[in-house]
């Protein structure tokens, strides 16, 4: 059944299957989607592991990501260089973490990375303000934005350093059982 394809070797497909939450068929379908993003850039033959990266601008045009307020941060968090240029492995990684089979701890780690806009391993008040602005766009006045972010930090910060470390974030996630189903993009 799977021997007719020439995109990956069997060892590569085994590795993808063991290391991500996708089956062989889904990996091949993902490769098709990746190829669609940049047909002139992405080769159809991946047997010798070509070093090809699709730029951020092309990836955020995918229908699954196009309208998402956090599309740039999502792609940046999964890219190796932090600029949003994804190789195929990063691409598969991204959708594997965002799939419904990924466990909560893994999703929490990447959600933290996404909300951490200034990449300092803490979600500080400015990160929260940027998050809020992406989520509401102009309906809240600046004072209201300020108040909401202060209240959020007050609620979630356990050790009192007025910013959220990963432990604080994870504690909040553990009290939100919906997170597992909302932090989920289907492809």
């Amino acid at each position: 059944m799977g021997n007719k394809q020439t995109i990956f070797t069997d060892e590569q497909l085994d590795a993808y299957q063991d290391c991500t939450f996708f089956t062989r068929k889904e990996i091949l379908r993902l490769h098709g989607r990746y190829h669609e993003l940049a047909p002139h850039l992405v080769p159809m033959d991946y047997t010798n592991d070509p070093d090809v990266k699709v730029p951020l601008a092309l990836i955020v045009n995918m229908p699954e990501l196009k309208e998402n307020p956090f599309r740039n941060r999502i792609v940046e968090s999964f890219s190796e260089d932090g600029q949003g240029n994804l190789s195929f492995n990063d691409f598969v990684d991204m959708f594997s973490v965002l799939s419904e089979m990924a466990p909560r701890e893994l999703k929490a780690i990447y959600a933290f990375k996404i909300y951490d806009f200034n990449v300092d391993n803490y979600i500080c008040k400015e990160d929260l303000e940027k998050t809020l602005n992406k989520l509401t766009k102009e309906e809240l006045t600046p004072e209201e934005v300020n108040l909401v972010c202060e209240k959020a930090i007050e609620e979630a910060d356990l050790d009192g350093d007025s910013k959220l470390s990963f432990a604080d974030f994870e504690n909040m996630i553990s009290r939100a059982p919906d997170f597992l189903s909302t932090f989920h993009i289907r492809i």
């Binding site: 063991d18 290391c19 229908p63 209201e144 108040l147 209240k151 939100a176 919906d178 189903s181």
Partner: protein, 671 residues
Amino acid sequence: MRRMSVFPQHGTALGNLGRTANEIRQEAENSKNVLVSDLVNLSAGARFQAIRSLPMPFNERKTVRNRVNSVKLSKTILTADCRQQVSRSFRRFCASLASARQHLIIWQDTLKEIGSRFGTSVLSYFLFLKWLLQFNLFSLIINFCFITIPQIVHAPNISSTTGFRGLELLTGVGYFNQTVLFYGGYNGEVIVSKPAYNMQLAYFFTIAAYLVLCWVSLIYSMSRSFQKNFVLETGPVSGGAWRLLCSWDFSVVNEKAIQYNKNNLAIQLKESLSERLQEKNKMSLSDRIKHLSLHLLAWLLSLGLALGSCAGIYFLGTDPDLAFSFNHNPNDLRAEASTLLLPVVVSLINLIVPLLYSLISKIESYSNPRAKIYISIIRNVVLKMSVLGILCFYWLNFVPDNISCWETFVGQSVYRLLMIDFIFCLLGIFFGEFLRNVIGTMCIQSLGVPEFDIARNVLDLIYAQTLAWIGIYFSPLLPVMQVLKLFIIFYLKKISLSMNCQPPKHTGRAAQIQTVFIALLFFPSFVGVLSMVAYTVWSLKPSDQCGPFQGLDTPFQTIFHWTDSIQNFPESNWVWWIFENILRSELFYYLISLIVLVITYFLWQITQGRKQLIKTLREQIVNEGKDKAFLLNKLQNLQKERREIASYRPQDFDQTPHFNPNWTNTLPLNM
């Protein structure tokens, strides 16, 4: 397994001070070795799940996986190639099973589309529908294979006294009377074939096995859902932090829906801010009494309505003019149509009384919207279950004495109830959603587009499923109807949703409400069905002229006859022994209950201890934070002091404990 953390722990920057790059690399290498050895010690399934959950980029995960594989290989005695081949082909087989299973999942693309347009809370309704469909399909398959096919093949006794008229589809009588659709179409003879097939036992065991499987499946789903969604309610859980960081639905892809969600979020944030800004005044005593009395009044009204509906249904059912006239004259169309009166009344009650309940709840004031949802769910459940309860009482107490072949009558009643419920559902979609949308957008603009009320729709599904389960004993092919009904409702609701409704505004806590729905499906619904079927099988006398249990005192006697018959065979003596001495003795059940109670008490004590531990740990975190702040403060003050002193007397600066490279200058000159 120890977790690999991607984020630096507190003070790692300080901890890495003074280390060279080599040492840091060495430490990373060590931690990787520890990780690999941890992974090697796990079982195969857990190992792959752990590898997949490692929070590192794909290439690093692949190296870890390759190292784990090579370590595993080096531990085997077979040659490396052979073992590798075997394990690889085994994994490929498992993966191909998984992908084949994906083909069997129906509606995969449709569900994805619904989730992307309307969000996960609306999707949960459709997932619930799909789950119920699986129950009914399974029941259909096993009933058809084990009961219906032998009956059709070996003993066709369809003696239709009347031709097929259109009304049968609604009422289930006439042409369908003697078919395998209902209990009466089966007979309990032993089919003489190579292994003798006892129809009585087959009927009994198929239904019993299906109910047991449902029980196990429901308990499993309930416990898994509870485990995943249980929230330790310490600390603020529904505040701004949660709404900001955890509640955004990433799976919504449609632009309009995203805009809608953004608006909702803004409104909810503004509401929570204004709640916080307003001081919550303590209510005066008279206010509290007023609220309490309003609540009491509302509850009395609701329960009164429920009781009134039950009484009405009972009197309607036992009214001698309406009830059994059709039994005597099968050609009287008018009498047959009058049997539809009871189902129509029941469906009307199920339609109108919940609307009255929502009107009643408007006079009450609730402290939080979640309480409102839960109380409305409780009232509706009480109504629906009491209606079903009174119907069961009527069927089990009143009907067997008055009608011959009463099981077929009960089966037909259930069939009628399901059909009329289906028709009302279709009408509800048309009037409740389509027309309401038209009115809301064109005529009375203030009403707006109707919201998709998830609780009401799910409760309707639970009600229909309870009816279907009740009907299985009396009508083995009833799941056919339920399957068709669920199929049609799925597509109609989807179309109606996209054309007419908008997603609900308050989407918080969807996972907890999911657990509540599964628990409702188990507790009043399935347990009630089980007790009703158990009562029928255990104590009621089956009808003499039709059905597989003719001539017995109770259907359960089949089991006694069977165990008596196998008592004579020495190989199956142990079955008889288990049945006689364990299952039939009361001591066994007392012992089991006692053991279960002890275990429950023990586990409860453990949870109490853990809650206490969590509280202490939380306090410890807060204290450590304060300690850190205190120490940082002190360090800053010391450094400020040192700087001030240094700006006055630079020659005393050397008192700081660091290595002074000019130490030779401090030696006395004559050394």
